[in-house]
């Protein structure tokens, strides 16, 4: 495969020779105030009524015949800049844009870039920028990236208390969550109340639900691409906040003006609030640290180093407790081979681990740790062939080290090591993806990804055989393997394609994608938790393969086209979805593979979105009508059944009203249909204990009550001028009320007997209980500052 890749690269350069008579205009688009690259900024060449967009590093390149051009650079929320350029040779032009409402000294054109959602070939994509996220009323007043993402069409979660999020009927483990390229294996703090992304350090969030370009892969449902700020390259900036749950502090600034900058952002939650029910030494808290350094070596080379470290800690005394956390590190090198050939080489490390510790002393204890550790190298080439073609080509290679359990049990001083074998794998991918503008109406994007997965590193390998579908499988010894001997390999071709066709003022878009997922998030709880285990595809567990088709219509309305509207339909067909046998035991189990079975999945739905980006009143309405189902041999009479996160209606309304310069109000309303749970129909007694029983063996046969909630918030900017002088710092007070009418939204409904003692011969009570995580209105106040 390596040879093929090289030859592709070589042919790239020869393509360039073909267009040799043309010249290119290229450079970076940045924010003038802090030097941050503007991802996706539009570059429009008036004369050809076409152009390009800046890539994730803010780099753009347009190739044109020599001549004089009027070029407009624009970005949502920023004043556009129009420049007249006499282009005779390749020219580097870095452009800095100003946010709106600052003084203007260049020609300004507004409104053009707001058409991007209609004109771009991209569909099934949701973007949120830091400014919008800041306005959304948040739980305990702390804005959060993942909680905000859940307000967008096609995105949901099982409820408060569940980690992660679900996209288009996919499970939590089917989302690839990237922080500056590095995968984050568990994106939640405190059981999903907050995410690992510190809003002070986040620049841009992009969720791709369908039509995923070929440069992304490895998960079935979605890609959440979170990009960190580079750090203010103009001046030192300190920002932070003091809230009800935690405090934040971020420092950023130039190391060398316009050359190098850094960012350090940290958060720490308070023990007192969360650990209120505890006394003594018991604590529950989290902290995280996000850092980034970048350096412009010269016009053609830039280096970025970024890292994240965070942990949640739940201790009930000095020795005993439970903790979990992620660590990621990314080193990136941007290199311009030619003006039109942008490249990036990333190397990153990511790990997620959790641990339990029980026992009073070293003679009697139980310690258990589990982790996943990965190393990835990812070369990427972005070739701006001409104004009508933009090529992405690259590869990715990941080494996985799975350590399902490192555990010791010590009883009366006797140590028993109950660790499980480490498992290793390598995942490789090569891809090519081209965006082709055929004419003003038609744009195509097509690509191909070839991925492979190799499982190795386990000595004793077993095969598993189904005795009865839906029940624990029987293991038989297969054979012994050497340490580096490949046990099983898988290969997948993943075609991707999107098309956009402009009809009148709107556009129709369609996309298809095939995705392969080689690692699986194993969890047999009702919702995702911090102790879910990542496990590789093996000789027994096949990779998940998904196909998705999507069709949508996009149109903007209103004065200045400031209301964006879209409707999208999708259908997903997934194979080898992981399910569990009855009574599956997924922890500390050497024979885990015997507990996992596979089936088919399908999900389909319609997503509506109306969004207003400008004016005093901004916000959106998003509604999803969806279905997500599984069909697994031996489960639910072999018939289709809804997944735990199948929510028929999902309505989210968000609005922000700017009352005056200093005060703004936000409201957020959520309505989600009841998710299904499995319920018994009969009860029976064994040895004084009551068990439920369902003779029909149905799965997820009962809908729990719907979830709905209203949240409000008010942001008050503190006075900017004090005693006639402008204050140096900007600060604001955020008042918020979460769950205004105190609805007890169900996390789950469970069925059980009374927990008390049973007197011989007396009947035992059984009941259904609704469990809500937040059962009351939660007010909060926080203070944010920046100077």
């Amino acid at each position: 495969m390596k040879i093929t890749f090289l030859s592709l690269l070589l042919s790239l350069f020869s393509i360039q020779a073909l267009f040799g008579q043309k010249v290119s205009l290229n450079g970076y688009v940045k924010d003038v105030s802090n030097g941050e690259a503007l991802i996706g900024a539009t570059v429009l060449v008036k004369e050809i009524a076409g152009g390009t967009t800046a890539n994730v590093y803010g780099y753009y390149s347009v190739t044109l015949p020599p001549g004089t051009y009027t070029v407009e650079f624009s970005y949502i929320g920023y004043n556009s800049v129009v420049k007249t350029i006499d282009l005779t040779t390749n020219r580097r032009l870095d452009v800095e844009l100003k946010t709106e409402a600052t003084e203007l000294d260049e020609i300004v054109v507004l409104g053009e870039d707001e058409e991007a959602n209609v004109t771009s070939v991209e569909m099934s994509v949701s973007k949120l920028d830091a400014k919008t996220i800041q306005k959304i009323p948040a739980f305990l007043g702390e804005v959060d990236v993942l909680r905000s993402i859940q307000l967008l069409p096609g995105v949901s979660s099982v409820g408060e208390g569940s980690s992660g999020f679900n996209v288009r009927g996919g499970n939590v483990g089917q989302n690839l969550v990237l922080l500056d390229d590095a995968p984050v294996y568990n994106s939640s703090h405190l059981f999903g109340f907050f995410s690992v992304f510190n809003p002070d350090a986040v620049k841009d969030v992009k969720l791709i639900k369908g039509g995923v370009p070929a440069n992304y892969g490895g998960r079935l449902s979605s890609i959440l691409d979170v990009r960190m700020k580079e750090g203010n390259s103009k001046k030192l900036e300190v920002s932070g906040g003091v809230g009800t749950v935690f405090s934040r502090l971020a420092v950023q600034g130039p190391l060398k003006k316009d050359k190098a900058s850094f960012l350090v952002a940290g958060r720490r939650s308070y023990v007192d609030i969360l650990a209120a029910p505890f006394t003594g030494d018991a604590t529950l808290y989290f902290y995280d640290l996000t850092t980034k350094v970048n350096y412009n070596l010269d016009e053609k080379n830039r280096l970025f180093l970024s890292g994240y470290f965070g942990r949640d800690v739940f201790r009930f005394d000095e020795r005993q407790g439970f903790d979990w956390g992620n660590l990621t590190g990314t080193l990136r090198w941007n290199h311009l081979f030619k003006d039109r050939l942008f490249s990036n080489f990333s190397f990153f490390v990511s790990t997620y681990d959790y641990g339990f510790a029980f026992g009073e002393n070293d003679l009697d204890k139980f310690d258990w740790e589990s982790r996943i550790l990965t190393y990835t190298f990812k070369p990427y080439f972005n070739y701006f062939i001409n104004t009508n073609n933009e090529l992405l080509i690259g590869g990715e290679s990941t080494l996985y080290d799975f350590k399902p359990a490192e555990a010791v049990a010590v009883s009366d001083g006797l140590v028993t090591d109950i660790s499980l074998d480490e498992k290793w794998s390598i995942e490789n991918a090569l891809y090519i993806d081209n965006t082709q503008k055929v004419n003003n109406k038609l744009t195509l994007k097509y690509g191909l990804r070839f991925s492979s997965f190799h499982y190795f590193g386990v000595d004793s390998v077993y095969n598993y055989e189904t005795i009865e579908p839906g029940f624990r499988q029987q293991q038989t010894f297969f054979r012994s393997f050497d340490n580096n001997e490949i046990i099983k390999s898988y290969y997948t071709w993943e075609p991707r394609a999107s098309v956009k066709y402009q009809i009148g003022k709107g556009s129709v878009k369609a996309s298809y994608m095939r995705t392969a997922q080689y690692i699986h998030l194993v969890s047999n709880t009702a919702a995702s938790t911090p102790i879910d285990v990542w496990t590789p595809s093996t000789n027994n567990i096949e990779p998940q393969i998904g196909d998705q088709w999507a069709l949508g219509y996009f149109r903007n309305f209103g004065r200045g086209n400031d209301i964006e509207a879209s409707i999208e339909g999708y259908y997903r067909d997934n194979r080898n979805q992981v399910e569990y046998v009855r009574g599956a035991d997924i922890f500390l189990n050497e024979f885990l593979e015997g507990e996992l079975i596979a089936g088919d999945g399908r999900a389909y739905g319609l997503e509506f979105s109306v969004k207003k980006n400008k004016g005093d009143l901004t916000g959106w309405i998003s509604y999803t009508l969806g279905r997500s189902e599984l069909k697994v041999d031996g489960i639910n009479r072999n018939e289709w059944y809804p997944t735990r996160f199948d929510q028929t209606h999902n309505l989210k309304v968000f609005g922000n009203y700017q009352l005056n310069d200093r005060t703004s109000f936000s409201a957020n309303f959520t309505y989600v249909s009841g998710a299904p749970v499995t319920a018994p129909t009969l009860r029976f007694v064994q040895q004084g204990m009551v068990a439920g029983y369902d003779p029909l063996e149905s799965r997820n046969n009962l809908r729990i009550p719907a979830t709905h909630r209203l949240d409000l918030s008010m942001i008050i900017q503190m006075k900017r001028i004090k005693k006639g002088k402008e204050r140096k710092n900007k600060d604001e007070l955020v008042l918020s009320l979460y769950n205004v009418y105190g609805r007890r939204n169900p996390f789950s409904v469970f069925f059980s007997q009374d927990q008390g003692a049973v007197n011989l011969g007396s009947p035992v009570e059984t009941e259904a209980t609704r469990f809500s995580i937040v059962g009351a209105p939660v007010p909060s106040i926080s203070y944010n500052f920046k100077f």
């Binding site: 009930f316 009883s411 009855r582 439920g692 029983y693 927990q755």
Partner: protein, 299 residues
């Protein structure tokens, strides 16, 4: 371990539980057999009843007029007769020439009722003796483990994988039968895949003989004068999985533990209708060997 985790997690922050009314699907009642017998020299009872709608909390309707026979691979036959209590089929070892006992003997249960024949097979497995019962005075460790005397039983799982047990606690002569008291072991550990074999039962299992308070949020230490009696019942591997499922269903006290709760699933029965197309049946047949030891806490 789960027990400790539960008491910690149960102390939720904002969470709340309320009983709610839900309408469940309806189903035809099914015959239920509760057949957990052992080698103790006391009355052995097999109960027959009908399953009830889930929210019917009355005593289950007994099923009378059945023929209940247990026979062994050693060609012994034990006839269980319905005596004073309807639905309770009893065999009295003291009036019988033979007894349940030899390790590794296979037993077959056969029930004839309403023109249907139900059968099941179990085997009596080995059980380790309990060497001693210990009480240790401990300082307050945390909110869940207050100061006082903590009991422990000392016993070792015999070498060889695949021994499964049900550990029962009697405090002051009273069998501790709340859902959270149900303690089972796979070899010396919690589960099959744990592979803790041929050693002293792991600490959390030894500690399981210290019952929780009524709110299930604190261990109640033993006091001077209290007695502790511990029994280990050998169970088949399948019975272990049955009880493991029963634990998941019955050990529900809400709180943050619900976040980690597994969904409802039918517990797997081991009694079947001899006629594949016959009436459905649920229930379990297990023959246990039992070892026990007790001690009174004195000064």
């Amino acid at each position: 371990m789960k027990r400790i985790a539960i008491i910690v997690l149960a102390s939720g922050l904002l969470g709340c539980e309320d009983p709610i009314d839900v309408t469940l699907e309806e189903a035809e009642p099914v015959l239920v057999v509760d057949a957990w017998i052992n080698n103790k020299p006391e009355l052995q009872i097999i109960k027959l009843s009908m399953a009830q709608p889930y929210f019917d909390s009355s005593l289950p309707p007994p099923v009378s007029g059945a023929t209940v026979v247990v026979s062994s691979s050693a060609n012994e036959t034990f006839i269980f007769e319905e005596r004073n209590t309807p639905g309770d089929y009893v065999w009295d070892p003291s009036t019988s020439a033979n007894g349940i006992g030899e390790i590794e003997t296979e037993y077959q249960l056969q029930i004839e009722v309403n023109d249907e024949i139900y059968v099941s097979i179990s085997q009596i497995n080995r059980v380790p003796t309990i060497d001693s019962i210990k009480f240790t005075f401990k300082e307050e460790l945390n909110q869940f483990q207050p100061e006082g005397y903590y009991g422990e039983f000392v016993s070792a799982d015999p070498r060889g994988e695949g021994d499964t047990y049900w550990i029962k606690t009697f405090k002051n002569g009273i069998y501790q039968n709340r859902p959270f008291d149900l303690t089972i072991a796979y070899d010396a550990g919690f589960s099959q895949g744990g592979l803790i074999d041929g050693v002293v039962f792991i600490q959390p299992l030894q500690d399981s003989v210290n019952p929780l308070n009524e709110d299930l949020d604190e261990i109640v230490p033993y006091e001077i004068g209290d007695s502790l009696y511990v029994e280990i019942h050998s169970i088949t591997n399948d019975a272990f999985f049955f009880l493991q499922e029963l634990q998941i269903q019955t050990q529900r006290d809400g709180g943050f533990d619900e976040i980690f709760a597994e969904p409802f699933e039918n517990v797997p029965s081991n009694i079947i209708n001899a006629d594949e197309n016959g009436e459905d049946i649920i229930g379990y047949f297990n023959v246990a060997a039992v070892s026990g030891s007790g001690r009174k806490l004195t000064e």
